[in-house]
Structures are given as structure tokens and as C-alpha cells.
Symmetry: C2
Subunit: 417 residues, 2 copies
Amino acid sequence: MTPLNETHDPNLKSWVDSAQDSEFPVQNLPFGVFSPSSAEPRIGVAIGDRILDAREWAKNADLSETIKAALSRPTLNGFMSLGQESWSMVRLAISRALRQDGDRSAPLYKASDCTMHLPADIGDYTDFYASIYHATNVGALFRPDNPLLPNYKHIPIAYHGRASSVVPSGTPIKRPKGQTKADDAESPTYGPSRVLDYELEIGVFIGPGNQLGEPIDASQAEQQLFGLCLLNDWSARDLQKWEYQPLGPFLAKNFASTISPWIVTTEALAPFRCDPFQRPEGDPQPLSYLLPAGSGFDIHLEAQIAQADTEPMTLCRSNSKWLYWTIAQMIAHHTSNGCNLKPGDLIGTGTISGPDIESLGSLLELTRGGKQPFQLPNGESRRFLEDGDRIVLRARCERQGFASIGFGECSGEIVGA
Amino acid sequence: MTPLNETHDPNLKSWVDSAQDSEFPVQNLPFGVFSPSSAEPRIGVAIGDRILDAREWAKNADLSETIKAALSRPTLNGFMSLGQESWSMVRLAISRALRQDGDRSAPLYKASDCTMHLPADIGDYTDFYASIYHATNVGALFRPDNPLLPNYKHIPIAYHGRASSVVPSGTPIKRPKGQTKADDAESPTYGPSRVLDYELEIGVFIGPGNQLGEPIDASQAEQQLFGLCLLNDWSARDLQKWEYQPLGPFLAKNFASTISPWIVTTEALAPFRCDPFQRPEGDPQPLSYLLPAGSGFDIHLEAQIAQADTEPMTLCRSNSKWLYWTIAQMIAHHTSNGCNLKPGDLIGTGTISGPDIESLGSLLELTRGGKQPFQLPNGESRRFLEDGDRIVLRARCERQGFASIGFGECSGEIVGA
């Protein structure tokens, strides 16, 4: 776990004025890949409403040739592979360059003039199911008599998602078509999904990874965390219901998954670590390969819905501290059979719901499977997503004595099939 | 569908003597990626016991710069992206260069001096479940009352596998550890899998692919088929049983999947196409987005088991014509929701079992879940795989009036955890 250091000092201010009180103050410094106007993609760091061109900046920075080469590539995979020591070194140097007493020579672009891309070439994408509140809520809808399966409290349940259809925030989401079967129908039909949902998740970008056949010990798992982003695992519930037995969700999920383009590094998140989820009395202790659990993260999450003519409306406020399994446990479990993780692999936490009605991270839960519609500011009613609906995920970390940091926006609008 | 042409002429012979009557006659010409001794990986074509260095050969061939550039890369992804016309053009040129009347200048290496690599950088790996015999046999073990679920005859069921752990033939397979729970145990334990199995499958390498949001029509799906290989989807049945609900297999499968290194092109397979599986009377017709079904493939498959001190013993003889869904239907279904396929993506058919006791493509089926052990030539008994067991998959196409072609070997030996 990265210790607190000078980059976390709450008194630091940047010579980029917009940084102060923004989601991206000098204490944050998230990494991403951007294009200034129509130029080629390159690695950048967000500061206020600007983006530091990390490739250009690195040319004159006091860094090793290995680091400079990694920062000159069009994706973050190479930099992710270098590990915590290199990440820290670069963060410190960028922090110093952007502080009020920095030499103000860092090459910046206005973020609003830039296009954001996927931060990495995602080799594999795995999605967990780590919120026990979500698992219980969803389980109750699909299997009323048996909401939480017997393995849930022993195994960090997960499945493989689709890497090719992970898209950056802002990409329109075409309503998927697929096979569905009404309970009272004799046969299925093929057509646009009518039960389209979002899922509020956090995405984890993996650092150095491991060799095939060499599990990562739980005590070493946190060293694999390059950083976190927001993830919307769009879900077609009607497709899911008909297809998911016996091998799990497939077309219900793989038409698109949206991520926020800025990766907030684990080091930036150091002040916002918290104890892992407190298991209720009577719950089994994790098997030893899942210990130590590592820390949780206290990240405030919010999902909003908006249409062209309406103000955004909050659907849910949740927090990653509600996850039953820590990210370190997910990594230890994922590799416990020898499965190899690679730099730039993406892991989703699964929908993060909390214990309250206000903290339900999907419409499936909020509307009780569509039985309890809610009203939008424009008077329309919603059970699931309609064309023109835009879902915006946001995240923010706050702690007394530290600068607040945000994740930026993870947004996508549904367009007709 | 590629028509028959001069490259399929059974009377063609190669000036490479070993080609005649081998798995790789001049009518086959499968593509792969190899290294001569310790040189860097490059694209090659198998001919008898030799490998044509396609990169070197292309330099002097009458081909476009685009094709030459694709053949000069260390993976087949670029060549796969070019499509059927380019694939055919290269096949024809290589066929002419290797025929008896060719100029014998093609740069060849002895295959036994070379190392084979993965043929492509596999972006995503999807595994289907397309043999109704396998699905019924396995379903009966996991769900005796309900072997074939109601969706099976309507949906080509599939799930996402792990791309990072796909390995080429010959890679040792480390016995995975994982969580298992005996039926009569109170709690799970973590340790080496005791119920390790193989699965006999065919792998499909995708060509040009599609844009996100743009389904591939069933009538166009065959144009996506670059070629086929053998695939062993190693499975830890004890892990699978405990983890697979509700999101499907995960650690039970993702510790390794072995493929044969030579991709037999769809064009080489043209003489061995056959009618799609004849649905029994009373089975539902596929929905229209899954039609036309395209063709099946008549490929004889065999799985063998061997130990250091024993002759290989045949476990199973099957045939890809037993698949309930065609490969074209798998592709049409996979993209029917807009999911994008990319060049070099790998699709598995799922275990290919046939209707007979001799055609069961996994030990789970052969030993009825371990209840009926079988005997090896050395007198040992087996329910599932022991350390030191080697599984070899083979495939061969035969048809009157055509040269027989083979797939080479897909092999892996189990080593201790």
C-alpha cells in the first residue's frame, strides 16, 4: 500500500487556476489517453480543466529512458507494466511541475478541445459481483426462494466480460437487439431489448500482472492496482433472463460497457482507504488464500439520469466501501488457479449497491424488476431506459484534512436500435 | 463460401517430398507463427515436415504492398483483417510456389527445428456450447431432472473465456488450485483440483470482424471465417461445480486453453463442408436472424491420452458435423446485439460429442462424472487426469476424390500444482 507523501498535502495548489476546487486538483493527477484536436492519441494527466501532455513533458523530465519510452506510447499499458515505484516517481515529478512554484513550462491543452480515448488496450475484462446487497436484490428477482446462493460468502463470484466493446465515456449506446421470451410465450422472438438497464461499478486497471501458473498472493495483490475508474456495465435484462442459464450472461452485457476516461491512481486514493467491509456476525471467514483482505475504498458514487430537455436527476448514491470483497481479494481469487493478468486488463467490481433504497446501483433494483416505476422531472415515467436517456456516473472522495478528488464523468446516451 | 479451385486439385504434388500423404499436403497450406531456432516470430505455412517462411517468400512474390506488409508482422491479425479475396490470392500463390513445377526457391525450415507460437494476438475468446449431445450429457450430471434447458434449441449458448491464458500446443498445463466443496462438507477448501478434465473442441479464428453496433447478417457470416484449429478447453470440474452459479464457469476454465498452432483455412476446408446438423422432428426452427444456417464441416476428430511410458490410447472419436449450431450461426448470434468481433478473435465450438459412447469429447461424459473409470494400457485406472497425463487432439478431413488434410496436433501434459 502506498504511504501518504508530499503529493497528498492538502495545502498544495497548482499554477493552473482551474485545478483548485475542481475534481482534478494537483492532489489527484489521474492518467488517461487523449488527442488534442485531431492529433494522434497520447498519454495525458488531468489538471483542472486542462490536460498535461505527458509525452511532451517527459522528454525534458528527469526520468529513466524506460519511463520516458512508456509515456511516449499511445496507450498506458507500458506504463502500467512498470509498477508502483515508477508510477510514484512520475506522480511526484508531475506534482512538482504543476504546483504553484513549478516552472510553468508543462505543455497543457484545454480539455474541452481534446478527445478522450480508452486509456489502455484492454486485453481481458473480468466483472465481479462483489456487492452483497446487489447480489441479494437481484437474486431475489431471479430466484425468489434462493436469492443468495451458498457459494456467495466464500467465493468472489465473477465472469469474463467482453473487452472489444468497452468504450470511453460519451460513446452513444445503441439499444441492443436480441432473443427474449415472455414467460407466457411459447417461443422466443428477436427484437430490440425492452428492459435496458445501467450498472454502477468501479473499474480497476491492472499493473504488472503475473505469469500463467503463478498465483498472486493476497498480501501482494494491492501492488497490482494501477488505478480506478467508473464503469457502467449496460445490461439488457430481458436478453439476460432468457440466455443466462447455464453459462452466465453473454449478449445481455457484451454490446457495450462504458468507462470514465481518467484513471485515478491508487496512490491518489491512499487517503481514502478504509477498513474492508465488516462481515455480519455468523458469516464465514474467507479462506486463507483470500487473506489479508487489504483495504476498502471510501469513494462516494452517484448515478444520474438525464434527457435532452431535463436537468439530471439522481438515481442512486452509493459507496465502494459496501463491497463484500476487497479489490485485493478479487485479484487473489482471480489468479488463485494460476490465471494470468496482464498490464491494462480491466476488472469490474460488479454493481455497487448499498443497504438503503437510495443506494441501489441499477434500475432492476430501483424499480423492483420494473414493478415500481419512478418519475422523471419532465413528468415521464420510467421502469427501464428509453432512447434518449443519458446515464451519468460520478465519484468523489472526501476526507477531513485532505483535498477532495473526483473521477470525472462516465456517461452514455441510449440511441435507437 | 469459397468455391473449389485449382488449389484443391487432388493430383497436385509438392516438390517438398514429405508433403505427400502427410497432414500438410499442398492442398492444405495452413497458416501459423513460428520461430526458426531462436529468431523472432514470423508467419509461416506448413508443407509436409517443413515450414515456408511467408515473410521472406512474400518479399519476392507478386502481391500488393498491403498483403506483403500483413505477412511481415509477427502475428496473423493483420492478414486475417484483409478478407477472403486476399487470403485466396496468397493461398493460390503459395500453392503454385510449392507445387512440383514450382521454382523451388521458397525459403523453408525444418519444422522440427522451429518453435510454434500463438498464431494471433487473441483479443477476445468466446466459447460456445454447440453440441447438443455434450450439453445433454453434462446437463444430466449437473441437473439430472433437467438436462437440456429450455433455451438450448433456440440460442447458440456461449460465454466469454479468458484470452490471456490461451497457449499453443506443447505448453505444460499446471494443475490449477481452487475452491471446492464436497457435497457433504460444511465449508469449502482451497487446494489442487482433483477432477481435471479436457474438452475436445474446434477453434475458429475470425477475419475482418464488424463495427460495434453493426450485427453480421447470417448470410454474410461465413466471410468472417479465416480458419479452424483444434482447441482443448481444460476444465476443473470440482471448481466448476462450486463456482458456476449464477454467472457461469470462471476459474474452472481460465487457467489454460490449448490450441493447435496451425490454422487450416476455410478455403482448404471447402471440399469438406457438409449439410448443417439435421434437427430431429419436433425441434423448433431457428429464428430468422440465425438463417441461412450455412454449412457444417465434416472433420474427423480424435482425442488420445498418453503417459511417458505408454502408447497413446484413443479416448474418443467425434466429428464436427455433430454440432447443433453451425459456425455461421455462432457468428450471427454473437454479433446479433451489435457486439463487435475483431481480427484474431477466437471462438470455440464447445465440446464436440456425438451420439455414441465412442464419441464423448470429455472425461466427465466418458466416465459418467467419474463413476465409471477406464483402464490405461499400463493397467492404471483413470476417472480424471493425473499429473503426467498428456492429452493429444487430432483432426483429419477425408473425402473421395480429394486429398486428405490434417490439423496437426493439439497437445498438453498435466504437471503438478
